[in-house]
C-alpha cells in the first residue's frame, strides 16, 4: 500500500513526441499532506515505537521479577536481536525500517529497565572498566597518531 501507483498517462508526453514532461503532470502527482495527516503519522510512529519499547520494558521487568527466566532471556534476547539485525540488513523498504525500529526500541528498553543493575555493575567493576578504558584510549591514541603522521609524510 505504500508503493506509488503507476499511471501510464504520466508518460503520454513521450508518445506525443515531446521529451519534456509537462509541468502540470509533475504538479498533479505531488501529494498535498495536511497538518492533521502529519499529526496522525507522527503519533502513529511514536505509538509504534512506544509499543516496542513498552514490550521490551515489560519483558525485562518480568524477567527480573522471575529470576528463573534469566538464563532463557540471556540466550533468547541476544539471539532475537541477532536475527532481527540480520533481517534488517537483508531486507528493504518498510520492513527494514520497522525491524530497525524494533531493535532500537528494545535495546533502549533493556537499558532503561535495568539501569540500576547496569549502574551496580559499573560501580562494582569500576576499576577494571577504568583500566580497560585507559588501555583503549592509549592504544587508539598511539595507533591514530602513527597513522596520521604517516599520512602527512606521504603528502
Amino acid at each position: 500500500m505504500y508503493l506509488p501507483e503507476f499511471d501510464s498517462s504520466e508518460f503520454d508526453y513521450l508518445s506525443a513526441g515531446n521529451s519534456q514532461p509537462q509541468q502540470r503532470q509533475s504538479q498533479a502527482k505531488t501529494p498535498e499532506i495536511t497538518n492533521i495527516e502529519r499529526f496522525w503519522n507522527l503519533t502513529g510512529n511514536w505509538g509504534e515505537f512506544g509499543s516496542y519499547f513498552g514490550a521490551g520494558l515489560s519483558a525485562s521487568f518480568i524477567v527480573r521479577a522471575i529470576p528463573t527466566l534469566i538464563p532463557a532471556a540471556v540466550i533468547l534476547i541476544p539471539a532475537s536481536a541477532l536475527g532481527l539485525g540480520l533481517y534488517a540488513l537483508s531486507t528493504d523498504g518498510p520492513s527494514k525500517v520497522r525491524s530497525q525500529l524494533i531493535l532500537i526500541a528494545v535495546a533502549t528498553a533493556l537499558l532503561a529497565a535495568n539501569w540500576d543493575a547496569w549502574q551496580a555493575w559499573i560501580v562494582t567493576n569500576s576499576q577494571l572498566l577504568i583500566l580497560s578504558f585507559a588501555l583503549l584510549v592509549i592504544t587508539l591514541g598511539f595507533v591514530g597518531t602513527q597513522v596520521w603522521s604517516k599520512l602527512n609524510v606521504s603528502q
Binding site: 492533521i36 495527516e37 496522525w40 502513529g44 511514536w46 509499543s51 520494558l57 529497565a113
Partner: protein, 511 residues
C-alpha cells in the same frame, strides 16, 4: 482547533504512556540493603552486598509497580498506534469527501446561478412577448387604417359561432331591451365573481356581445353598494347612466381626458390623506370608461390612466371599469409595454357574442370568459350570464323609457300604456288582423325589416299605427327605435339613431 475528537484521545494516551514509562523506569526494581562496611555506609541489591558488610536497613523496591506501569504504558502506546494508523488511513478519504462537498457546493451555487439566469431570461421573454403583442396591435391598427376602417371599431376577435359576417356593422350595440325580450335563465356552472371587489376590471368583446349591458348591471350594483360612479361615455344617450355622473357625452373627448387626469389626482389626494391620517375612510369611487378603445388616440391621459388603475388604486378605495372592444394594448389606451401589468392586475371579462341569422348581426351568447388577475389566458373560466339580470342583482340599468318621456306630459300625444292595452291583438286605431300579426312578428323578432324601413310594404297609416302599438309596449327607447327604424345607438349608424330618436320624439308628440 481540533478537527477530530480522537486527537485528544491519542494525545492523552501518548502522554500517559510516556509518563508511565518514565515512572516505571525511574523507580528501583529490587530491594536494596543498606549496610556499613568499614566507615562507609552503602546501599546495594542483595547480591552485591559484601559478605563482611554490617546490615543496617532494607529499602523496598517497586518491581510490581514497575511491571504494571510498563504494561499499562505499552497498552496505551499500542492503542495510540492503532488509532493513529486508522485515522491516517481515513484522513485522505475525508479530505476527498470534503473536496467533493466543496465541489457540490460550487455546483449548487452554479446551479442556483443558472436558475436565476433562466428565471431572468423567462422574465425578459415575457416582456418580449408583451412587446410583440403590442407590436401586433400596431400592425393590426395600421392594417385597418390601410383598409379605411376605424381601428377602434374593429372587431377584436371572432368567438363562438360568430363569423366575419356578424361583424359587418361593428358599431351596433346590444341594449338591455334585447335581454329583456328573452326569458330569464337560471344559469348553472361557474358563477361570475363579485366584480366590485376587484379594483381593476376590463370588460371587452365584439360589438353586440353585451358589454354595455353587463357594465350597466355592474354600475347599478355598485350604486347600490354605495359607490360614487362616474361614467366616461362618449356615446352616452340622453338620460343614460342614471345615478351616475356622465362625462364626455357627445364625443367630448377633452372632457373625458380631463376626467382621467382628475381621477389620477383624486387617487393621489387619497393616498396623501392615507399618509397623514391614521385610518381614513373614503367613499368607494368607481370610474367607468366606456369605449376605451376610442381613447387611445384622443386622450393623452389614457395610457397613464391604464397604468394607474392597474397599480395604485386599491388602497385608495378607487375602482376602475374599462370597457373596450379588445384586450390588446394598442386598444387599451395605447398602453404599450404594460401587457404584464394588465395580465397580473386586471380582472378581464370577455363577453361572448354570436351571429344571429335573423338580424344578421352579433347578438349576446350570455356567456363570458373570465380571467382572474394573474391567471393565464388559456385558463379562463366560462361563466354563464343571466339573460335578464344577475340573481340577487336588480336590473337597475337606467334606461330612459318612453313612458318617462311622454306619459303625463301636457301637450304630448297620449300613448296608451301596456296596462291600458294589455292585448297586442286588440290594438286601437286600425285594428286589423294584418297589423296584429305584424306586431306579434315584430315582438317575436321574426320580422326582419323595420317598420319605417324602405323595404317595408306597409302603408303609411299602417306604419304609424304599428309604431304606436310598439311604443305602447314600452320596450325601451333603444329597442323601440330598433324595431321602428332598424338602427342602434353608437357606431357608424349613430347619426341615423339620433335622427330616429328625433323622429320618435316627434311621433310621440303627435307630429
Amino acid at each position: 482547533m481540533l478537527a477530530n475528537k480522537n486527537q485528544v484521545i491519542v494525545s492523552g494516551l501518548l502522554a500517559l504512556g510516556v509518563a508511565g514509562f518514565a515512572v516505571a523506569t525511574a523507580l528501583q526494581f529490587n530491594d536494596r540493603i543498606e549496610y556499613r562496611i568499614g566507615n562507609r555506609i552503602e546501599s546495594n541489591p542483595a547480591w552485591l552486598v559484601p559478605p563482611k558488610a554490617e546490615f543496617k536497613s532494607v529499602e523496598r523496591g517497586y518491581g510490581g509497580l514497575k511491571i504494571l506501569l510498563a504494561l499499562l504504558g505499552t497498552g496505551g502506546m499500542v492503542t495510540v498506534m492503532l488509532i493513529a494508523r486508522n485515522e491516517a488511513e481515513q484522513e485522505p478519504i475525508r479530505q476527498k469527501i470534503k473536496g467533493y462537498q466543496n465541489q457540490a457546493y460550487e455546483f449548487s451555487h452554479a446551479a442556483e446561478s443558472a436558475y436565476q439566469m433562466a428565471k431572468t431570461q423567462m422574465e425578459y421573454k415575457k416582456l418580449l412577448e408583451a412587446d410583440e403583442v403590442a407590436f401586433e396591435g400596431e400592425i393590426e391598427t395600421a392594417y385597418c387604417e390601410s383598409l379605411g376602417i376605424d381601428p377602434s371599431q374593429q372587431q377584436a376577435a371572432l368567438t363562438g359561432t360568430a363569423t366575419l359576417d356578424s361583424a359587418t356593422n361593428p358599431g351596433d350595440k346590444v341594449t338591455d331591451a334585447t335581454s329583456l325580450a328573452i326569458e330569464p335563465d337560471r344559469t348553472q356552472g361557474p358563477k361570475m365573481p363579485n366584480l366590485s371587489k376587484y379594483p381593476s376590471l376590463l370588460i371587452y368583446g365584439i360589438p353586440g356581445a353585451g358589454k354595455s349591458t353587463l357594465t350597466e348591471q355592474e354600475v347599478a350594483k355598485r350604486l347600490k353598494e354605495g359607490h360614487l360612479v362616474i361614467v366616461c361615455d362618449p356615446h352616452a344617450a340622453y338620460g343614460a347612466w342614471e345615478g351616475c355622473e356622465v362625462i364626455g357625452a357627445g364625443m367630448d373627448y377633452e372632457a373625458i381626458d380631463a376626467k382621467l387626469a382628475w381621477f389620477q389626482k383624486k387617487i393621489k389626494w387619497r393616498y396623501e390623506v392615507i399618509s397623514r391620517q391614521p385610518d381614513p375612510t373614503f367613499q368607494p369611487l368607481t370610474l367607468v370608461v366606456e369605449e376605451f378603445t376610442n381613447l387611445s388616440k384622443r386622450c393623452n391621459n389614457s395610457g397613464s390612466h391604464f397604468q394607474t388603475v392597474n397599480s395604485d388604486i386599491r388602497k385608495a378605495e378607487c375602482y376602475s371599469v374599462i370597457v373596450s372592444h379588445t384586450r390588446n394594448l394598442a386598444g387599451l389606451g395605447d398602453a404599450k409595454g404594460m401587457g404584464a401589468l394588465r395580465d397580473e392586475s386586471m380582472l378581464e371579462v370577455e363577453v361572448l357574442g354570436e351571429y344571429n341569422e335573423q338580424t344578421e348581426r352579433a347578438t349576446p351568447r350570455f356567456e363570458a370568459l373570465v380571467k382572474m388577475p394573474g391567471q393565464s389566458l388559456t385558463d379562463r373560466t366560462l361563466v354563464k350570464l343571466a339573460k335578464n339580470s344577475s340573481p340577487g342583482v336588480e336590473n337597475l340599468a337606467p334606461k330612459p323609457m318612453l313612458s318617462d318621456l311622454t306619459l303625463g306630459t301636457p301637450g304630448t300625444l297620449k300613448i296608451p300604456s301596456k296596462q291600458e292595452a294589455p292585448n297586442a291583438g286588440t290594438p286601437y286605431g286600425i285594428r286589423g288582423e294584418h297589423i296584429s300579426g305584424m306586431l306579434a312578428d315584430i315582438l317575436a323578432g321574426t320580422l326582419e325589416t323595420a317598420v319605417f324601413s324602405l323595404d317595408s310594404d306597409l302603408e303609411q297609416d299602417e306604419k304609424l299605427e304599428l309604431a304606436k302599438l310598439i311604443i305602447a309596449e314600452e320596450l325601451g327607447l333603444e329597442k323601440t327605435i330598433w324595431l321602428l327604424w332598424g338602427v342602434r345607438r353608437g357606431g357608424r349608424n349613430h347619426t341615423l339613431y339620433t335622427e330616429a330618436r328625433a323622429m320618435l320624439d316627434r311621433l310621440i308628440k303627435g307630429e
